[in-house]
């Protein structure tokens, strides 16, 4: 049986220094990746808010058009009812006026109320107009803007944020292993061995943890980094 010889301290200094460099590089890469995931979360949030603004602006334009048309349509409907009453009047002067109103005024009002006041599909059985249907048709005219889904962007941001939480813990564990390796570099004898073992152990645990979180998160996003 051979006696176990302690490693040469000068050689151990070099080995630990190389280990410290390796762990530093890994920690830097982990910090970069953690920040990148955080940036992706911030990007998704920003995109969601921009989408919400764009969709809101389009929706407001639709409301504006809808109620503008509804206003013209109600004016047209009221004038048409008035003309019907004028034509049924016993007063000849009112009847004569009705003829001109029907010929000159009603077509103009009808033109303004298009298409809500003119298309059959918007007329309900009780004589009122289907504003919901017109609103849906207006939305269909802007499919790109109406398809914007800010909440989907927010959900993606939340998934990135969740990954960032765990990656940060992994990065901190990696950084902490540097502390132990640093101690191993400056100490000697048994203390050096204990600190070195702890440093390498913590580093490997941190690295494994980081990789597991990354793989699980990327798999969860369907392969998207």
């Amino acid at each position: 049986m051979r006696d176990r010889k302690p490693l040469d301290p000068a050689r151990m200094d070099l080995v630990i220094a190389v280990l410290i460099a390796l762990v530093s590089l890994t920690t830097a890469l982990a910090a970069w990746r953690t920040n990148m995931v955080g940036s992706s979360a911030a990007d998704a949030n920003r995109r969601g808010l921009i989408d919400a603004l764009r969709k809101g602006a389009a929706q407001n334009e639709i409301w504006y058009k809808l109620y503008e048309e509804a206003g013209y349509t109600s004016t047209f409907a009221m004038e048409r009812a008035a003309v019907d009453a004028m034509e049924a009047s016993k007063d000849e002067s009112i009847k004569a006026a009705a003829k001109n109103v029907r010929q000159y005024l009603l077509p103009s009002l009808q033109l303004l109320s298009e298409p809500l006041g003119t298309q059959e599909k918007y007329l309900k059985s009780d004589g009122t107009y289907d504003l919901e249907k017109r609103s849906a048709d207006l939305e269909a005219e802007w499919p790109d803007l109406m398809a914007l889904n800010p909440e989907a962007s927010f959900a993606l941001a939340d998934r990135y944020a969740s990954e960032q939480r765990w990656l940060t813990i992994g990065t901190v564990v990696l950084a902490i292993s540097l502390f132990w390796l640093g101690l191993a570099e400056i100490l000697s004898g048994r203390a050096r061995s204990v600190n070195l073992t702890l440093g390498i152990g913590i580093f490997l645990i941190g690295l494994l943890f980081f990789l597991i979180v990354e793989i699980a998160a990327i798999w969860g996003r369907g392969g998207v980094l």
Binding site: A82, A85, I94, Y129
Partner: protein, 224 residues
């Protein structure tokens, strides 16, 4: 002399255990800090999103009430005009001016036709929630305005809740940073304890006090 060595070794183990404990504490705390930061970002985003939704809802509500109330105003005006013309026609008829009375009665019928059409189109007259309870009465505009503003008010309530959550988590995140800074001091003291054999116990005890303070502060942040 022989008894001094085990004591030193025991303290060394004690220091190593403290350092390991501090390491785990720092890792947990950094996780809590990032979590608080992320929650504050999410609440901040939600607060902005609900503010946008509330603003959009106010715009929609504005368009709709402008249309509905304009229609009510026009309709009521036409109905009142029809009534006034009818009354005047009756007065003229009593005064023997039958031709003028007939002309005004015709105009009254026209105004009434406009009003009837307006009543049938108006949400405030056709919706049972707001329609007048008796003929000739006015619609319940108070109930109408309350219903119209309900969605916007709900968004504002959510926005306020999100804004409060943002302040709460932002304060927590800041406090965790302060505790992490204190743990850095504990790390420094533990490092000194590892290398300075004579003052090992002093530095170790100092680090322990600092760690206990940090733990107490963390507990306070967690329950606040």
């Amino acid at each position: 002399m022989k008894e001094a060595t085990p004591n030193t070794d025991r303290f060394r183990v004690f220091i190593l255990a403290l350092t390991l404990l501090n390491t785990i504490f720092a890792a947990l705390l950094s996780g809590l800090q990032v979590d608080a930061n992320i929650r504050s970002d999410q609440a901040n985003r939600d607060s902005q999103y609900y503010a946008l939704l509330a603003a959009d809802e106010v715009i929609r509500f504005g368009h709709q009430t402008a249309y509905d109330l304009e229609l009510v105003t026009t309709t009521v005006k036409e109905a009142q005009q029809a009534l006034v013309l009818q009354l005047t026609a009756l007065e003229l008829e009593d005064a023997g001016e039958k031709e003028s009375a007939a002309a005004l009665a015709g105009q009254s019928e026209v105004a009434q036709a406009r009003a009837d059409q307006g009543f049938s189109l108006s949400r405030l007259y056709s919706d049972p929630r707001y329609a007048p309870e008796e003929p000739g009465g006015l619609p319940n505009q108070q109930a109408y305005l309350e219903d119209m503003g309900k969605a916007a008010n709900e968004f504002v309530a959510k926005q306020n809740a999100a804004s409060d959550a943002y302040h709460k988590w932002d304060t927590k995140a800041d406090s965790y940073i302060a505790v992490l800074s204190i743990l850095a001091i504990a790390f420094f003291l533990l490092g000194l304890a590892q290398s300075a054999a004579r003052l090992r116990l002093f530095f170790g005890a100092s680090a322990l006090v600092v760690m206990l303070l940090a733990a107490a502060w963390t507990g306070f942040i967690l329950i606040s």
